[in-house]
Amino acid sequence: MSKPGQSLQRTRAIIRKEFKHALFDPGFLFLTLFAPAVMLMLLSYVFSFDLGEISLALLDSDQSPQSQAFIRQLTADGDITIDQVVGSHEEIVELFREGRVDAALVIPPGFGRNVAAQTPADVNLVVDGSDATGALQAISSIQQRVQAFSAARTARMAAPFDARIRVWYNENLKSQYSMVPGLMAVVLILPPMALALGIAREKESGSLETLVTTPVLGREYLLGKLMVYLLLGVVGALVALALAVFWFRVPFRGSVGLFVLLTADYLFALMGLSLFISNFVASQRTVSAIILLAFFIPSFFLTGLLLPIDTSSAISQALSYSLPATHYITIARGLALKGIGLAALWQPAAALFAMGAASTIASIVVFKKKIA
């Protein structure tokens, strides 16, 4: 009935209309093009300070010159401070309850004697497990200093072998280098949300009904919209990348062309799913609630952004890999830090493409049925 030439023309008309909408709404244009970069900046900034101070309570039952020397060494560089001196274990629990200290060091009687005699001397480190991440950090930073203290005081004995540790891609383990590319996945949820809101707005205002009476087909309408938002999203991503590289000095070792391609791939997956969701939802507030709950919140818990992906059960893995952000975080870190190419990234890329294609086709089918 309709020739491909005409269909193309109609799709182009939709694209023109969408661009005009975007250009006439500077607030909206700003939010899709620059908001990802602004948000990335905010998020990345807090990751530029790797070490926090550790506030320590001290229970020194030894009170020997050795225990005092030990404490001096621990607190020498100022990262660890003794904020409370206590006399009993109960006081430590109380201080933890009130959140006044991060950890407590308990030096038992006889510590100084053992150190002087060069026999093993024990100390107890009590940490507040309610903040497990902070506790783990406190443990490792205190252990490092204890090791330095021990090494200076024990007879040097040659260990028969040791391990030479090298870190690839991020030599100094700067958390910023690994977080900035990962957080790209979070801030790029904004353009797909704008797309879903745009469709919901046309439903709410009734202009979608008007559109149905025109010769424009469902797929032309959806694809036209998708292309415009995809393009805006990619430009927004490039602005964010420029900020990451030139402002935060995060390395980018891969190809920019591949970054554009795979970012479009990620946006395609998110936007396809957003189109599919908007088919069933009539109001802007519902669609935004769904997108925030389905994409935004899980990206902090299930995608490998902060914590490793839980591999202990098949359900957890299926859940993690069904989120587009999981795949994009692998891609973004691979491109920025590892500098790898499509040969190593084809799996996440293909997964994203499959999600995008399947959900776009599904939304075209559902859309047609609804209108008919």
Partner: protein
């Protein structure tokens, strides 16, 4: 006045219930999400796959591999024959690192002139995982080497041993903290999204003008707009709280009443912020986008991503204006540590002050917008 307020609240609830997709979604989705996500959130850095390239193939090299594999953090998952294959595994992300044991390693340990050394290479692209895997590998190799040294001299080594005791969470699992953060974040998202549409929706469909000519006063209008999201938030919170206690066995060591009171204050403060955004924006699309930015700002400054003490002083001050910061600190302390409400007075006051100040600010803004 109470009569006017009551009729507005009834109108709000009717409008809300009329959208069954929304009702189902905001009541069921958070529950579904906490069940699925709570189960799948990781306990910590455990079982990270590592490749070993063993050129030595001696009892000692095997002993090292076993020692690495025996740590909680590391699982030796692949034995590639060539260095390039191992490198490819790291590049593709199939393993988090590789260990290379050179040829003649065991022999070198007996030689006086040569240094016997294995190489551990860790993928640093995810810094948290890398740091913990790295220190696990290092301490496994070190303790093996120390034992060998002690065996050689048959004399215990001096030095200081640190015994770690973790209160409230003996295994230092990351799960309790993550699940509690999830409750706070999900309640936050749902409440703020329902609330932010309050004013801007009326404006978009043109009914705000109509409301402004009714005898309804501005503060009443805002109070009416605040009730529905607060009810929704409270129901969400209670449902998720039950799930977390029953399904995931997260402890509740403090007073439930104190937690409930703080939750009301928290929801009030969040709703006040949302209504301010609602009066300042022109369309629902704009409002949602601003909410998204606000959500990211809150996540950033709440102590959820990084501890607040690591932030520069200026940002620490700004974070006082973020309700999520006070609520996260409170809910964690009450549930995991049983902190009494007296110790949470600063958080309680902060939440109350934020709610009142934002509500007053919103009233003033609204009068400027409607006049």
């Amino acid at each position: 006045m109470l009569h006017r307020l009551a009729s507005l609240i009834i109108k709000e609830i009717i409008q809300f219930v009329r959208d069954p997709v929304l009702v189902a979604f905001v009541l069921i989705a958070p529950l579904l999400q906490i069940v699925l996500m709570g189960r799948s959130v990781s306990q910590g850095v455990e079982g990270m796959p590592v490749a070993v390239v063993d050129y030595d193939l001696t009892p000692l090299s095997r002993e090292i591999i076993t020692a690495l594999d025996n740590t909680d953090e590391i699982v030796v998952s692949a034995f590639p024959n060539r260095l390039e294959d191992a490198q490819q595994l790291v590049d593709r992300g199939d393993v988090i690192g590789m260990v290379v044991i050179p040829r003649g390693f065991m022999q070198d340990t007996r030689s006086a002139t040569k240094v016997a050394q294995i190489q551990v290479i860790i993928d640093g692209s995810s810094s948290v995982i890398a740091a913990q895997t790295l220190s696990a590998a290092q301490s496994a190799v070190q303790s093996l080497a120390n034992n060998a040294a002690i065996a050689a001299t048959s004399r215990p080594l001096g030095g200081i041993r640190v015994f770690v005791e973790a209160l409230f969470n003996p295994t230092l699992s990351l799960r309790p903290d993550s699940i509690i953060s999830e409750i706070a974040l999900i309640t936050f998202e749902v409440t703020i999204l329902v609330a932010v549409m309050g004013i801007v929706r009326e404006r978009e469909i043109g009914t705000l003008e109509m409301l402004s000519i009714t005898p309804l006063r501005r503060l009443e209008l805002l109070a009416g707009k605040a009730i529905t999201p607060m009810i929704v938030g409270m129901i969400n919170f209670l449902l998720m709280f039950v799930v977390v206690r029953v399904v995931f066995d997260i402890p509740m060591r403090g007073s439930f009443l104190a937690l409930l009171g703080l939750t009301v204050l928290y929801l009030g403060a969040e709703v006040a912020y949302a209504l301010l955004i609602s009066t300042l924006t022109q369309s629902q699309q704009q409002a949602t986008t601003v909410v998204f930015v606000w959500a990211i700002a809150c996540v950033t400054l709440s102590g959820f991503l990084v501890p607040i003490t690591t932030l520069p002083k200026a940002m620490q001050w700004i974070s006082w204006a973020v309700p999520l910061r006070h609520y996260l600190a409170s809910i964690r302390s009450i549930m995991l540590k049983g902190t009494p409400i007296a110790a949470l007075l600063p958080q309680t006051i902060a939440l109350a002050v934020l709610g009142v100040v934002m509500m007053l600010l919103t009233t003033r803004t609204l009068s400027r917008v409607t006049d």
